[in-house]
């Protein structure tokens, strides 16, 4: 995967050598996807213009500890009382597609409560709010790219895309990686969910193997006795195609 090439130039007396990132095809969903009706008027119709990876693209915000408080990774302890629902642990690693861990990178998550209700002013699903659950979490990966959240099992919820449409339970994940090119917002799903085959958003991803990579694995070793179920989910960001030579 690692191409042994580099591009060099001289800017003043200094050589400017930049990494380049893989351009995956067939991984991400198309912007125009008929099954998800909101794409109809929101997808660009003109072809995308190729943007070479230069300084702005190979760098990116390295957002760190100043944004994080210790309770941010435990969504069950953000209020005086405990939230309703099944307590779960969601943990894994952030890697790039070269297999290298992505350390010290910000992960943000958001999700419904156990009843399938988001805490949001435009959310009208008549399911109860939980005063002890906001559904927001953040953490920074450790030096091996590992992350860990404690939360509760989110619920499925109805949406207006088509008759009797229900989103499968999911947790939204937002990742920055180390470069603008690596920015990713995705959703983690749960194994065995009968709504997955019916969900246009999940099925917007064309490749079956890629779809499966959005489903966490139940992990009995991560599960804590008398306490919480464990789910393992690794997230893989685009890797580099060129290495930097010193």
């Amino acid at each position: 995967m690692i191409a042994e090439v580099s591009t060099t130039a001289f800017t003043g007396a200094r050589e400017l050598t930049l990494p380049a990132y893989e351009r995956p095809s067939g991984v991400h969903p198309p912007l125009d996807f008929a099954g998800y009706h909101s794409t109809a008027r929101r997808h660009p119709k003109r072809p995308l213009v190729l943007l070479p990876h230069r300084l702005t693209e190979v760098t990116g915000p390295l957002l760190g500890d100043e944004l994080i408080t210790p309770t941010d990774a435990d969504l069950t302890t953000q209020h005086a009382g405990e939230p309703q629902g099944q307590r779960i642990i969601v943990a894994g690693r952030v890697l790039d597609s070269d297999g290298r861990p992505v350390p010290d990178t910000l992960i943000e998550i958001w999700q419904t409560n156990a009843a399938g209700r988001y805490r949001h002013s435009r959310e009208h699903h008549p399911a109860p709010l939980d005063p002890n659950f906001d559904g927001i979490g953040r953490c920074i990966t450790d030096s091996a790219g590992r992350y860990r959240f404690v939360t509760i099992q989110p619920g499925a919820y109805p949406w207006g895309n088509h008759h009797n449409a229900w989103r499968p339970a999911h947790i939204h994940f937002s990742l920055f990686g180390r470069a603008f090119t690596q920015r990713l917002v995705t959703q983690m799903y749960f194994p065995g969910d009968p709504l997955l085959p019916l969900d246009p958003i999940f099925n917007s991803v064309p490749d079956e193997n890629a779809r499966q990579r959005m489903i966490a694995g139940f992990d009995i070793d991560l599960t804590q006795p008398e306490w919480a179920l464990g789910y393992t989910w690794d997230i893989v960001l685009r890797g580099r195609t060129a290495t930097v030579f010193e």
């Binding site: 351009r23 929101r42 990579r213």
Partner: protein, 195 residues
Amino acid sequence: MNEERRVPGITPSQTVGPYFAMRLPWPDGPYVVPEGTPGAITIVGRMYDGAGNIIPDGLVETWQAGPDGRFAHPDDPRGATPRGYHGFRGFGRCPTAPDGSYRIVTLKPGPLPTPDGSIEAPHLDVSVFARGLLDRVVTRMYFPDEQTANAADPVLCSITEPARRATLIAVPEPEGELRFDIWLQGERETVFFDV
């Protein structure tokens, strides 16, 4: 280099959906520098869909160099931006309001060298997220007072149609703000990039 190393598959993108707005935004997200910073500029704009309707549930993120054209990042081989720009973090994030508007307060970036020796005009990389976008779309904002630099910019030069190129250049407002509207689709569709 370990040839046996397993190459994992990339995780696909999914939409941010409609309900990120109370989650992703931070109170100071739109402030790449604190308001009132000397030299600060304000970027305003609205997000529109293909029917010309405003998008009240979008999210704009910006990433840019400092005024000296450098990045505080290990992959900028010239070294980190000296800590000369107090509070500048290069990154801005603003959800769109019920009227489709967003606002970013920042410093104007400097021009950037490239590996092939050309110079990129001052610009911001802009990521756009919304319900109905299964993946982010990426555009760039350039500056209207940089006509000479813009004319030599390799990215702008790769867009041959003048009307298309113009979608990437902010418009000065009477109050001194810079307007950068984002049209996801339609006759005024913004140029989006394959990044």
